[in-house]
């Protein structure tokens, strides 16, 4: 039950983008076309799930065991950077088609605050291994949902007459605000 709660909470009720402001850079930058948004979302979800799977044991069996919690940030960011590097190399070798679709987004994922954020939250909330993996997956799904919703709206927006100074970043942010308001409606979902 708790797993389901974690999933719904992380993807909808406390969506990383719309509640915690994580992953805003790609959210603003890559959400103009649905195809790009989807690819970025999928790539990020994959990296986030993997990150949860790798950083949890790193934290539990290395950092805590050797009593060096202050190395958490350094260790996590190195892990994320390395993971992204390996994922990129693997995809390039195994599926050139996939690489062509996703490849350029991968390096950007290293600095996506959502990835590091997920690792930090996982530690703060004391999740166990399974919970952490679900959490990683769920936050990625939430990110993808936000990206897709935004890209859908932005594609429509191309035909609208946006006032000159609001074009681009500004209108995207205002729309994000409205999306955030809408997502607040999910707040009652789990209270029962």
């Amino acid at each position: 039950m708790k797993l389901i709660m974690i999933f719904i909470s992380a993807s909808l009720i406390n969506n990383f983008v719309l509640t915690y402001f994580l992953g805003i850079c790609p959210f603003l930058g890559v959400s103009n076309k649905t195809e790009n948004a989807l690819n970025m979302g999928l790539a990020t979800t994959f990296v986030m799930t993997l990150t949860a799977a790798v950083t949890w044991p790193l934290y539990t069996y290395v950092l805590v065991r050797f009593n060096v919690p202050f190395l958490e940030y350094v260790a996590f960011i190195i892990t994320i950077a390395a993971l992204v590097q390996f994922v990129e190399m693997y995809i390039r070798k195994s599926s050139p088609a996939l690489y062509r679709a996703l490849g350029i987004y991968l390096p950007l994922i290293t600095t996506n605050c959502a990835v590091l954020g997920l690792a930090l939250f996982m530690v703060l909330r004391d999740y166990n291994y399974l919970q952490s993996i679900i959490f990683g997956f769920a936050t990625g799904v939430g990110f993808t949902i936000a990206m897709l919703m935004m890209s859908g709206i932005r594609e429509e927006l191309e035909f609208a007459d946006v006032p000159r100074h609001f074009r681009g970043t500004s209108i995207t942010l205002i729309i994000a605000g409205m999306m955030a308001l809408a997502f607040m409606g999910f707040a009652g979902l789990m209270s029962g």
Partner: protein, 204 residues
């Protein structure tokens, strides 16, 4: 030498308006939204980022000739993580309420694109002194932006500035300003405003 001074000043100045993060240079947006629910939080985050940005720029510029290109991102990221951890420990030790208020957003300075962005775009190919100017300009510009957002959100959302109630009992706080939705909208509004001012200044 005069030319040197003008160009140094230029490096400093550009971060204050022309390339001000996060309104014109769209980087560092995550903390801009997350911790600007009050003036003190916004300014603290700005100063913390300034410190990391300045130190990172200095270090990365100083070692730029020795770092092998392929691993430079890894090296930069470790240095930044180191600086951020130091900052985090410092805040937890000396300013616990601020540390609590900023919470997990302090470690997220590591992935604040401003820092890695400036390292890549500037510090790794420029000497130390211009890098210092660049960092100071960007950092102060960022702090000013966070201050502005914090001001608007705290004033409208709590009716206070720096926890001092400015607007009296007649004011019904716009709670939305404290919530994420308000953050997005204020940010969006300010970007539009900055666009407008820039446009006016350049005289169409």
């Amino acid at each position: 030498m005069a030319e040197n001074n003008t160009s140094l000043f230029h490096e400093f100045k550009k971060g204050l308006w022309q390339d001000i993060p996060p309104f014109r240079l769209v980087l560092g947006t995550c903390p801009a939204l997350a911790v600007t629910n009050s003036v003190i939080n916004g300014v603290s985050m700005g100063l913390a980022t300034l410190f990391v940005l300045l130190s990172a720029n200095i270090i990365i510029s100083a070692i730029r000739k020795y770092v092998t290109s392929q691993v430079r991102i890894g090296v930069y990221v470790v240095i930044i993580a180191l600086l951020v951890t130091v900052t985090d420990l410092f805040l937890a030790a000396e300013f616990p309420p601020i540390s609590k208020a900023l919470g997990p957003y302090v470690p997220l300075i590591i992935v604040n694109c401003i820092i890695l962005g400036r390292a890549e775009a500037f510090a790794q190919r420029n000497p130390v002194v211009p890098s210092i100017m660049d960092a100071l300009g960007m950092g102060i510009g960022f702090t000013m932006s966070l201050f502005t957002m914090g001001l608007i959100r705290e004033l409208l959302g709590f009716g206070s500035i720096l926890k001092v109630k400015i607007l009296g009992g007649w004011f019904e706080p716009w709670i939305v300003m404290i919530l994420p939705a308000g953050a997005f909208m204020v940010f969006g509004g300010l970007v539009a405003l900055v666009n407008y001012i820039t446009h006016r200044r350049s005289g169409t």
